[in-house]
């Protein structure tokens, strides 16, 4: 089993009021020096069987047509190695 991670972020030119609200809260929490925060979405897809080119291509299509709206969002697709998954589960 392998994990494929799709990260979705608003395009840089799109205003992100949620990220701004988080950024404005930081000084109150004693965090200085953070000039900007942008908030995105992370999807973790657990794939049955090996992640080959064909599977990745399908996930890319899925991200492009559904997980992200490419009018306003950019996305990246990456495979998480089994070792990393095991590490994260500890």
């Amino acid at each position: 089993m392998a994990r494929v991670v799709v990260d979705v972020m608003l395009k840089p030119e799109i205003l992100d009021p949620q990220g701004q609200a988080v950024q404005r809260a930081l000084p109150r929490l004693g965090f200085e020096g953070i000039s900007d925060v942008r908030q995105g979405k992370r999807f973790e897809l657990e794939v049955d069987g090996p992640v080959d080119e064909a599977v990745l291509a399908r996930i890319h299509d899925l991200a492009e047509s559904f997980l992200a709206n490419t009018v306003i969002e950019d996305f990246t697709v990456k495979v998480e190695e089994a070792a990393e998954v095991a590490e994260a589960a500890k």
Partner: protein
């Protein structure tokens, strides 16, 4: 003979009944359509109503856009079927790429519910023929994700082609319904496709069709009389 106008009910739709009522008041025959049913039951036009279809999970309208009924709506809209998307329906239409741009959370991060003043910019669409260009109307607005965005090229194209159908009126006191309520670019409240058969807007005309209730005005009724006139005269 009158026109049959379908209203889709998705899980989470809220304004489907009000929309059917508005259609009836305008003199047309409302037809309830179900999200799982691909069949449009020979309707002459379709309205996608407001609400929070599929909980607005992922993005507003993102999941509804893949429902069985939308397969047919998308196909038929491309062939000229008149389609109106109100609020969540507008979000579904942008997610389905039947209308350009996208909807995002209000810039102030709050739900908003109030009467809103708008200017009708285009009275030539299938849904706005009974208005006059430049007319100012007052209808309810209630939404979380009402911020219309599109890239600079798309905005210029929409303006140049007269496809901004409604704009929020901003010059006046907020208490009287003026102002940009959600940070929409260029105060855009509604747009149309190239052919003018598909229209989407955030405010709710179906809640302003009887003088007895709501705003006390019937500023939303012309949406439904416009389409009826267009269909009957066609």
């Amino acid at each position: 003979m009158t026109a049959r106008i379908g209203v889709v009910t998705f899980p989470g739709s809220l304004d489907d009944r009000d929309t059917r009522r508005a259609i009836r008041l305008a003199g047309a025959e409302p037809v309830a359509l179900w999200h799982k049913d691909k069949d449009l039951h020979q309707v002459d036009a379709v309205v996608l109503p407001g609400g929070f279809s599929y909980g607005d999970y992922l993005r507003a309208g993102a999941i509804s856009r893949f429902s069985p009924v939308m397969e047919t709506v998308i196909e038929q809209a491309k062939a000229g079927l008149p389609v109106l998307g109100i609020c969540n329906g507008f979000q579904v239409l942008t997610e389905a790429h039947l209308l350009p741009g996208a909807m995002l959370g209000n810039n102030h991060l709050h739900f908003i519910c109030r009467d809103q003043k708008l200017r009708v910019e285009n009275a030539d669409t299938a849904w706005t023929g009974d208005y006059t260009a430049g007319q100012e109307i007052n209808i309810p607005l209630k939404n979380m994700d009402g911020r219309y965005v599109a890239d600079a090229y798309t905005l210029e194209k929409l303006e140049a082609e007269g496809r901004v159908v409604f704009r929020y009126l901003v010059d006046g006191p907020e208490a009287d319904g003026y102002g940009n309520p959600n940070g929409s670019l260029r105060d855009i409240a509604g747009v149309t496709n190239e052919a003018g058969n598909v229209v989407g807007l955030m405010p709710h005309p179906e809640h302003a069709v009887e003088s007895l209730i709501g705003t006390g005005r019937t500023d939303g009724l012309p949406f439904f009389t416009s389409i009826l006139k267009k269909l009957v005269n066609a």
